[in-house]
């Protein structure tokens, strides 16, 4: 009879071999996973947004989140070329990305533009000297967001309701001058809300200051959500479904109305960072976001829902998520979001044309202190 003696050395040896064998597939996989960097607004590189692409291409997307386009530009200015493979930006900042040479030229043939509504085939902010630099991913409208228990859709059909005495101390502001002054500029009757002369700018300042007695507070993203949900404020100008869509998921009776004077459009897009060593992979990611699958995903991101430019994506939203689609203005017939754009009621958010950005910011600080 042969006796097997398990020595300590033999035990350790077999343990190491077993552990190595079991871990091998993970090690091999980990070695082959490519890392891609993304500079983006929060939520764009969370699992619900990128897991499908990551699995498909065996890639790990590492985000660097920013708050505000100016912070994004500052981060890019302080980083060497190639730091970020993908850049997610609002349309008003794409032109600045191009001017500062932070992004690569794109080939329109690479993307699913044929699936998009014609309005987005050549979206103004994304092209420069007839060259494409960014591909739209999704967009949304900013008007009046309101609690339906306190403010009806009919009442919210004019910005004038903000001055109504019954809403005193119930009006809130998202703490950013650009959307707020944009919608109030529309209320003043400016057909191009960001391209206004000296007189219109003075009038806009007076209009805004006259609203201050109605204002309850100035809030960041979290504050906007909690104040609207708790009933601390019942109406907010200059925000949209990107807030009310999130609150509705949580059971709040809120919506966004685009008043007769018009609304503001924000637009998100993806570009490839200058000097990216993974430009091919970045291109594939942008192709994915413009595909019907990618567009459906983008419309329903956890961070907040938004409208998509893809007609095929619209069909899917209408059949699979009809309630969300309706609130976003994704439906067939009069009054849908494309219809609002075609009727000229929607104006693209942009940086002030005739004033310095610092002037708008200084005025906003003065308004908050008033």
């Amino acid at each position: 009879m042969v006796k097997t003696i398990l020595t300590r050395r033999a035990l350790l040896k077999s343990g190491v071999i077993t552990a190595g064998t079991l871990a091998m597939p993970s090690i091999v996989r980990a070695q082959s996973v490519t890392e891609m960097t993304m500079l983006a607004w929060y939520g764009q590189a969370e699992p619900d947004a990128v897991a499908q692409f990551e699995e498909l291409h065996n890639v790990k997307i590492t985000p660097k989140y920013y708050v505000g386009g100016e912070q994004m530009l500052a981060l890019l200015a302080q980083s060497p070329p190639g730091t970020y493979d993908l850049i997610h930006a609002d349309a008003e900042y794409v032109q600045q990305l191009v001017r500062a040479n932070f992004v690569e030229k794109l080939d329109p043939e690479d993307y699913h533009f044929d699936d998009f509504y014609p309005e987005f085939h050549k979206f103004p902010g994304h092209w420069h000297n007839d060259e494409l630099y960014a591909v739209i991913s999704r967009f949304g409208f900013l008007g009046i967001s309101h609690n339906l228990d306190a403010v009806s859709v009919k009442e919210a059909s004019s910005y004038d309701m903000l001055w109504d005495g019954k809403h005193k101390d119930k009006v809130g502001h998202f703490d950013w001058h650009l959307p707020n002054l944009g919608v109030l500029s529309l209320r003043d009757g400016n057909s191009d809300p960001y391209d206004i002369g000296g007189d219109a700018w003075s009038k806009l300042q007076d209009t805004t200051l006259s609203l201050k007695p109605q204002v309850r507070g100035f809030y960041d993203y979290g504050g906007v959500l909690s104040s609207l949900k708790s009933g601390e404020v019942t109406v907010m100008p200059g925000i949209g479904e990107w807030i009310t869509g999130v609150l509705r998921r949580d059971g709040a009776n809120v919506t966004t109305t685009i008043p007769e004077q018009g609304g503001i459009q924000f637009t998100e897009s993806f570009s490839i960072g200058r000097g990216s060593r993974k430009a091919d992979l970045a291109r594939k990611f942008i192709q994915h976001t413009s595909s019907p699958d990618g567009q459906f995903t983008l419309a329903n991101l956890n961070v907040f829902p938004a409208i998509i430019p893809s007609k095929v994506g619209w069909e899917r939203m209408i059949s699979e998520r009809p309630d969300d689609a309706r609130h976003l203005g994704i439906f067939k017939g009069d009054g849908n979001s494309i219809d609002l754009i075609r009727k000229g009621r929607i104006h693209i958010r942009q940086l002030p044309v005739q004033q310095d950005l610092a002037d708008w910011n200084d005025f906003w600080s003065a308004y908050k202190s008033a």
């Binding site: 100035f218 504050g223 610092a358 910011n361 906003w364 600080s365």
Partner: protein
């Protein structure tokens, strides 16, 4: 013999020097250095959202000539003074009770309880207050149930004071208590023996003797309230623009770090002058 004494003196000097070294090193590395950088930064320029070293006084001119800057300065000072006064007034009877009416064990327990709030993040404590003060919060619902319409509590000066007192009160109580506990109790006995009543003992003996503790407690409350961002943002709703909020706004839009540095330097100067003034008053001979 002389050599031996010199070596002893030298080694004593080296020993003392070694123990004293961390203080100047710390001050140079974490106060003087950043302060010089901040002063330098206030003269820089921002071009295309990028900080550029420069030496221009435009940032100072811009901020010091802006009405909204001075409005924020005045507001911040008033809010901080009110919070310091309120915290000191509330702390005074607490500190008197802890120092003169509680036994040793009870005193240790109570002082320990005042330290407990520091175990929780200040931000969390302020968020908790939002739940109490909000429209459908516990306070308003309770008041409504007994027929009192208190109006909105959040984003009001009342909410601001709640937040700032939450921040400063425990510290003020501890400082005042330490000051009162170190008071020579024979002074109180002497005052009673000379025929003083309790009120006169308090105002003519105890309070003048613990003045440094009261003033230093108020000074700390003022310093914390003056630079606070959290309460002004989450309980004031950003409606009361303080200097801290102004710094955040200035950086957020246009990446104007140099202008924010100007605001920060004015704040530091104000606090330094306040601290020097308060300390000199606290230890001034009556």
């Amino acid at each position: 013999m002389t050599t031996l004494i010199s070596i002893r003196r030298l080694s004593r000097l080296a020993y003392g020097g070694l123990w004293s070294l961390p203080l100047p090193l710390w001050l140079a590395g974490f106060f003087l250095g950043p302060m010089i950088l901040l002063i330098w930064l206030s003269f820089w320029d921002v071009r295309n959202f990028l900080l550029t070293p420069d030496f221009q006084i435009e940032n100072w001119q811009k901020m010091l000539s802006a009405d909204y800057f001075w409005a924020a300065y005045l507001r911040t000072t008033l809010i901080a003074l009110s919070a310091a006064a309120l915290a000191s007034l509330i702390a005074l009877p607490c500190a008197l009770a802890i120092s003169f009416f509680l036994g040793l064990k009870a005193r240790m327990v109570v002082l320990g309880l005042f330290v407990v709030p520091f175990f929780t993040s200040y931000l969390v404590r302020i968020y908790s207050w939002q739940i109490y003060l909000t429209e459908n919060g516990i306070i308003m619902k309770t008041l409504a149930a007994i027929g009192i319409d208190s109006g909105s509590l959040l984003n009001t000066p009342f909410a601001l004071m709640i937040g700032l007192v939450t921040l400063t009160l425990p510290l003020v109580i501890v400082i005042q208590s330490i000051s009162m506990l170190s008071l020579d109790k024979t002074l109180i006995d002497a005052a009673y023996n000379l025929g003083c009543g309790p009120r006169r003992v308090l105002f003519a003996t105890v309070l003048p003797a613990v003045r440094p503790g009261i003033v230093l407690g108020a000074l700390f409350a003022f310093i914390f309230s003056f630079g606070d961002f959290v309460t002004a943002t989450y309980l004031g709703g950003g409606k009361f623009t303080t200097l801290s909020i102004l710094i955040a706004d200035t950086v957020k839009s246009g990446q104007q770090w140099p202008r924010a540095a100007v605001v920060a330097l004015v704040m530091i100067a104000t606090l330094l002058i306040s601290a020097l003034g308060a300390i000199s008053y606290a230890y001034r001979r009556a």
